[in-house]
Structure formats: structure tokens, C-alpha cells
């Protein structure tokens, strides 16, 4: 707490950079995962292969993945950004596919019987009903991304990791504690906020 009192601006800037990094990566990751998840919900061999490949990426320990990306892309924000996007794919794609797959066949048939095209069925029936599961995936991904983004401090990206790794290098316990607690608080805040959204959309769709 003494570090926060002494350097409120540094902590706030690091927190801001962290949030910016996570939200940017989450937006891009979701834009990629949504079409992939819709494709996976249709099943078939491609779906199995894709989920298997993304699952394999997910098993690679984050430090190893980040290190490999640094070797390929150099230091800075880019490797951590790519790591965040790649790491989130498995959870996001899996939940989009599971959400759409969990839609009652009767709902789908009713929509088709009403004369909806495949596109309309997707946009007006399947995606709205799948929303709680999709938001659940976004929540898990966001919490994992807050954690992974702290490692960015090790490869020269700004964020809360900068405080932690500077503190570790210079033996400043206060700085380590400030960075760590802020990272925990941010992860919990993301979790609570998205849990709220999850509850909101499941209430809506169950009405």
C-alpha cells in the first residue's frame, strides 16, 4: 500500500495499460473466435481438428508460448498481444460451439418452419440463445488474459507486470506487492463484471 500511496500515477498508468492490452486482445480474439465457433458448432472433421489444435495451443505453458513468440516477433507489446489472442481462442471457440450446439433442436425447427433463412436462424435464434454460454467463455478468457498479460512486463510490454518484474529485479517488495494486488483485483473485477453480464443475458433469454 505504501507504494500505491507514493506512486499513485505509476500504478494507475500501469493498470490503464494493462486494461487496454487485455481489452484490445479480447476484442480481436472474439472477432476471430466467433466465426470459428459457429463453424465448429456444425460439427464434422474440420471442427474436431480445429478444436484439437486450439486445445494443444492452450496446453502450452504461457511462459513457453510467450518465449517462442518473442523469438519470432521480438520484444515489446506485439508478442504478448499475439499470445493473448492465441491463448483465448480455445475457450472462446469451445464456448461459442457449445452454446450453439446446446440450442434446442425444436427451436431451430420452429425458426425454419417460420421461413427463416439459415442466416436468420443463426442471428435471431441460435446466437441469442447461446449468449449466456458465450459470455461465460468471454469471462474465463478475460480472467486468464489478465493473468497472462502480467507476463508482458517480462518482455517489455507495459502493464502491471512492469511493476512486478521491476520490483523483482530491484528487490522492491512494495512495488511487487502493488503490482500483484492490482493484478488480482483486476482479475476479480473482470470476473465479477462478466458474471453480472452472464446473469443479465441468461435472465433475458429465459423470459
Amino acid at each position: 500500500m505504501s507504494y500505491l500511496a507514493a506512486h499513485p500515477l505509476r500504478v494507475a498508468l500501469a493498470l490503464g495499460a494493462h486494461v487496454e492490452l487485455v481489452l484490445g486482445a479480447l476484442a480481436l480474439a472474439f472477432a476471430i473466435a466467433l466465426p470459428l465457433g459457429i463453424r465448429c458448432a456444425r460439427g464434422g472433421r474440420v471442427a474436431g481438428l480445429l478444436l484439437g489444435a486450439l486445445g494443444a495451443v492452450y496446453t502450452i505453458p504461457s511462459l513457453a508460448l510467450l518465449a517462442l513468440l518473442v523469438a519470432a516477433l521480438g520484444l515489446g507489446t506485439l508478442p504478448i498481444f499475439v499470445a493473448l489472442v492465441a491463448y483465448a481462442q480455445f475457450v472462446l471457440v469451445r464456448n461459442v460451439a457449445a452454446g450453439i450446439g446446446g440450442v434446442d433442436a425444436a427451436e431451430r425447427e420452429a425458426a425454419i418452419a417460420m421461413g427463416m433463412t439459415a442466416r436468420q436462424v443463426l442471428a435471431r435464434v441460435e446466437l441469442p440463445l447461446a449468449l449466456p454460454v458465450i459470455v461465460g467463455g468471454v469471462r474465463i478468457a478475460a480472467v486468464a488474459m489478465v493473468a497472462l498479460a502480467t507476463l508482458g512486463g517480462y518482455v517489455g510490454a507495459s502493464g502491471l507486470g512492469t511493476l512486478i518484474f521491476t520490483g523483482l529485479a530491484l528487490h522492491h517488495p512494495d512495488e511487487i506487492i502493488a503490482g500483484s494486488i492490482a493484478a488480482c483485483a483486476l482479475a476479480i473485477a473482470f470476473d465479477l463484471a462478466l458474471r453480472g453480464v452472464e446473469r443479465l443475458v441468461s435472465y433475458r433469454s429465459s423470459r
Binding site: T59, P61, L63, A64, Y154, G167, I176, G179, S180, A187
Partner: protein, 200 residues
């Protein structure tokens, strides 16, 4: 290069194994006790939910000023990281046991202890093992970060490779950690499936 990796992989595996064993030893009885006691279950699951969101590097770094450098803080951090999935799944497994199975056991004249040992525990085991699987993958991944607080393991090789720009070492160490995580996942998946077949 391989000698260093092998040595670090051994240390890595030992650290993870110890953490996982301790987490099971602490988490499983707690969750089993709490499964049918709301006063214990509610706080236990609440703490587990928070524990799941805490970034592992933050936890490792936080323990450094308290416990110093080395294996002890790393072990504590890894146990804390392994606990939530184990607690949640043991709880899920025990509460998922069909009431009919427990009634049948009572009808056969089993006492509470026999019921738990012969009916509840075997039926809950596959779900509990799924929690151990999640925990093991998380612990193996997080143990690479333990290098930052001086606990050794394969994280040492990855960090050294980054600092010296040694691509071969980097690839070898990364693939070794990934392979360990993958092997643990496969092992516990198989184990859970084998036990499931036997009990049904």
C-alpha cells in the same frame, strides 16, 4: 543442453508432484467434509472461486516478500493454485452421487463409514480426478514462472534461452514443458475413464 533440460525437468516434475500431492491431501478431505455441510461448503467454494481468478505470477510474487526466495514460496503458491479445481470437483463428484445408490447402501446395512468408502468415494472419483487433471496442467504451467522467484525448474532454461537468444534451448525447454502438461492431462483423462468403466 539436454543434460540441463533433463535435470530441470526432474526438478520441475518433483515440484509439481509435491504441490499436487499436498493440494489433494488438503483439498480432498476439506471438500468431502463440506459437501453436505452448507456452513463449510459456502465459504470453501467462495474462496475457491476467488482462488481461480488470481493470476499465478501475482501469487508467486506476493509470496516472495513473505517467504523469501526458493522452493518454499513456489511450493506454497503452486498448492494454492492447485486447490480450487480439486475442491470444486471433489464437491461436484460427491454431490453428484445418486441418492438411490446411498439409500441402497444403507439398505444393505452399511454404516456411514462404509457408505463413504465403498459407495460415495468410488462413484465420485472420476469427477474428482478431472479436477486433479485441471490442477496438474495448471501447476505444470505455473511452475515455469517459479523461476522468477528462484525455484528452478524448466522456467530457468526458458529464461536463460530468452536472455542468450538461444533458439534451440528455447524450443527444447518449451516443448518439454508442453509435453509434460500434455502427458499429465492424458494420464488423468485415461485414469478417470478407466475408473468410470469399472464402477458402472
Amino acid at each position: 543442453m539436454w543434460a540441463s533440460i533433463l535435470q530441470h525437468a526432474g526438478r520441475h516434475a518433483l515440484l509439481c508432484g509435491e504441490a499436487l500431492a499436498l493440494a489433494i491431501l488438503v483439498g480432498a478431505p476439506l471438500a468431502a467434509l463440506g459437501a453436505h455441510r452448507p456452513a463449510l461448503r459456502a465459504p470453501l467454494l467462495a474462496v475457491a472461486a476467488v482462488g481461480r481468478t488470481i493470476p499465478s505470477i501475482a501469487l508467486l510474487a506476493l509470496l516472495l516478500p513473505v517467504l523469501g526466495v526458493g522452493t518454499a514460496p513456489a511450493l506454497v503458491a503452486l498448492v494454492v493454485l492447485a486447490l480450487p479445481p480439486i475442491v470444486v470437483n471433489v464437491d461436484l463428484g460427491i454431490r453428484g452421487v445418486a441418492p438411490a445408490a446411498i439409500d441402497a447402501a444403507t439398505g444393505l446395512g452399511m454404516n456411514a463409514r462404509q457408505r463413504f468408502g465403498r459407495v460415495v468415494a468410488p462413484l465420485a472419483l472420476p469427477v474428482a480426478l478431472a479436477g486433479v487433471r485441471t490442477a496438474s496442467v495448471e501447476v505444470i504451467a505455473s511452475a515455469t514462472l517459479a523461476t522468477f522467484i528462484g525455484a528452478g525448474g524448466l522456467g530457468d532454461d526458458i529464461v536463460r534461452a530468452l536472455q542468450t537468444d538461444d533458439l534451440r534451448l528455447l524450443a527444447a525447454a518449451s516443448i518439454t514443458v508442453a509435453a509434460m502438461a500434455f502427458a499429465a492431462e492424458l494420464f488423468f483423462t485415461r485414469a478417470a475413464r478407466a475408473l468410470e468403466v469399472r464402477t458402472s
